[in-house]
């Protein structure tokens, strides 16, 4: 049974009211510029993508042969071109577009626009009023598919507004890994990606989520993400941005609702060219004995601007523990980093919140140490910088590691 029309129209009414509401952070974007709509047909396998699309997808960690993946979801511009659940995992999880899920399940009312406020700003409003799919992944109770689900949201044309709404449900006692790549196949594409993500981790569930963003100079990105974690559940988020972007602004929220719930954010950001990057993470500790950790590593090169935000908000009556670790390196005298950690205790008497934030160069002493072992200065800087970024993420192929090294070698010179 589909979701009720009544609920959908309530969502619409709220969205309409927020249509012109500016976001709290980031430059305001004129959405009327992005009205192009392109329908694309299905493909038989990921190998059926265009050469450009394939290359772009691979660079975000997508495995075209779907090896070591439990399933795949692929969207090009506004169309769902591929969805597949690996046979071996049938009965463990389901993958479809969110549009299909809304047609299929009336209980989607409990998830759709239930975590992210639809009237938060003009971007959430646009995503609600002009939704162009997005993935729905649900792993059934106590199921633990061995390999991750991969999803790729790709923009191939100019003036597209890709308005995806992603919903992940990890049922009780289940575990899921997801790798998402968001990318462009045309490096000069102008447009916007609006990604609404609502993830629900039920009692004792685990969600391990990795997102790689590969954008370009003319592209804007406004993700809006909430993760609700129930009792004993845990959420781990890895986010990687290593390519230029015109502007990106996101402040995902992990809402630790149940007792013993935990969340960890790992954020790796490399600012290139004149990218405007405003990224953070917010952890709300409401359940007793909840735990949060937020680690951000940022490098600002060229003329980039990076805001690295982190909020820890304690609301629990019981104990909770959360730490924020936010470090940055500025590689160019035209680049800027703003590290903005914030700790808030709302009457949480037993909450222990802490943070360390720092901005500073690579230690000369470390570079010299490596040089004395016969490693060139460039290699030493590259190795230490890679180590600083700490891209130790499972299921991320080696070439990403190589790619980042090349980027570092090209940009670190200025800092030497």
């Amino acid at each position: 049974m589909p979701i009720s029309d009544k609920y959908l129209s309530e969502v619409e009414v709220r969205a309409e009211k927020a249509k012109d509401k500016k976001a709290a952070f980031g430059p305001d974007i004129d959405l009327s510029r992005y009205t192009q709509h392109i329908e694309r047909g299905k493909i038989e396998s990921l190998e059926g993508l265009s050469q450009q699309a394939k290359e772009a997808a691979i660079m975000t960690g997508i495995n075209l042969k779907e090896e070591q993946r439990s399933g795949s979801y692929m969207q090009v511009d506004q169309s769902v071109v591929y969805e597949n659940l690996n046979k071996a995992y049938e009965g463990q999880l389901e993958i479809m577009s969110t549009t299909d899920a809304l047609r299929k399940y009336d209980w989607m009312e409990d998830y759709y626009w239930k975590a992210v406020p639809v009237d938060q700003d003009k971007y959430t409003a646009q995503a609600a009023l002009h939704m162009t799919h997005g993935y729905f992944i649900r792993v059934f109770p106590h199921q633990k598919p061995q390999y991750p689900v991969q999803s790729c949201l790709l923009v191939a044309e100019n003036y597209i507004s890709q308005n995806v709404h992603n919903i992940i449900i990890v049922e009780e006692g289940a575990e899921l890994q997801v790798i998402t790549g968001c990318t462009l196949s045309k490096s000069d594409a102008e447009g916007i990606h609006l990604g609404i993500s609502e993830f629900y981790v039920k009692k004792g569930g685990k969600l391990f989520f990795t997102m790689i963003h590969n954008w370009a100079e003319n592209f804007n990105v406004r993700p809006r993400t909430w993760i609700v974690v129930e009792e004993d559940g845990s959420f781990i988020n890895n986010y990687v941005l290593l390519k230029p972007v015109k502007s990106i602004q996101a402040f995902p929220v992990a809402y630790l609702k149940g007792a013993n719930a935990s969340a960890k954010f790992n954020t790796v950001v490399y600012g290139l060219k004149d990218s405007y990057i405003d990224l953070g993470s917010r952890i709300i500790l409401e359940g007793e004995n909840t735990r949060g950790e937020s680690v951000a590593r940022t490098i600002a090169a060229d003329e980039s601007v990076i805001y690295s935000r982190g909020d820890l908000i304690a609301k629990t009556k019981g104990y909770c523990l959360a730490h924020l670790d936010c470090r940055g390196i500025v590689f160019s005298n035209k680049a800027n980093i703003y590290a903005i950690p914030q700790l808030i205790s709302a009457g949480a008497l037993k909450a222990e919140l802490s943070h360390e934030a720092s901005i500073g160069p690579i230690a000369e002493e470390q570079v010299e140490y490596l040089m004395s072992r016969g490693i060139s200065k460039e290699d030493a800087v590259s190795v230490i910088t890679s180590g600083f970024l700490n891209l130790d993420i499972p299921y991320i192929p080696e070439f990403l590691d190589r790619n980042i090294k090349e980027v570092i070698q090209a940009t670190a010179k200025e800092a030497l």
Partner: protein, 245 residues
């Protein structure tokens, strides 16, 4: 035959402090030289200057290594000419693991078997995936330094206080590692050379040293048999060295 290392009238400062004051020093290929001396005398400064750390500013004098003037060469160039150092207190490099470091340093896999045996002998198997020196104990640092040098294989090894922070049981381990590094455990290996700084002299029980020097106030004084020097220091401290200049 020319000398392996020749230091002429070396004046060095760190910050605004004069740490070496006109050092003359030379050694032959295959020699092992010991440096003794009180804290703050300039021992570490001497070998760090030989290695080429830019913080140690050479104000006057020359350093010749294997006949080549290396005074103006950087760390990387000197490492490739055959100099290597085991730090007294190496810096911590978070995010770069010992395993990674060894991988980068070893350019071919030919010696892999040997490497594994070195790792095991030095009890470092459990440290390979930790950041360099991150939370390492004093002894672990020294062992990790020696392991890295075994991969680097410098012709002249500069070892700064290999026994400091190492507990008694592990001293033998460190001593054997140094011998193996210097090829003294095998008859056939070409003899490598070393300058070893020692505070306690324990290391003399393991390494067959040729010459000893005492460093006092930025100068090398009292050249002699290292064992004689050690027993002299044990009896009278460094008091008489000042007169010896």
């Amino acid at each position: 035959m020319q000398e392996m290392l020749n230091v002429e009238d070396l004046w060095v400062s760190v910050g605004d402090r004069q740490v070496l004051k006109g050092v003359h020093f030379s050694m032959n290929y295959g020699e092992i030289n010991m440096l003794f001396g009180p804290n703050g005398a300039g021992k570490t400064s001497f070998i760090m200057t030989l290695m080429g750390f830019p913080r140690y500013r050479v104000e006057q004098g020359k350093i010749y290594f294997k006949g080549e003037d290396v005074t103006d060469k950087d760390l990387y160039e000197r490492a490739h000419l055959g100099l290597g150092v085991s730090f007294q207190r190496p810096p911590t490099v978070k995010g770069v693991t010992l395993r990674k470091m060894i991988e980068i340093m070893s350019n071919d896999g030919a010696e892999k078997g040997k490497l594994i045996s070195h790792i095991e002998k030095l009890h470092l198997s459990g440290h390979l995936d930790r950041g360099l020196n991150e939370g390492f104990s004093g002894g672990e640092m020294k062992r990790s330094e020696l392991l890295q040098l075994m991969v680097q294989r410098p012709e002249l090894v500069l070892i700064d206080e290999p026994e400091s922070g190492v507990d008694i049981e592990n001293i033998a381990l460190v001593g054997e590692a140094i011998n193996s590094l210097l090829g003294k455990d095998k008859v056939k290996d070409p003899k490598r050379s070393a300058i070893i700084i020692t505070h306690t002299g324990y290391i003399l029980d393991f390494v067959n040293a040729d010459e000893g020097y005492i460093v006092v106030d930025g100068n090398l004084v009292c050249r002699g048999n290292p064992r004689d020097i050690l027993s002299e220091i044990k009896k009278h401290g460094y008091r008489r060295c000042a007169e010896c200049r």
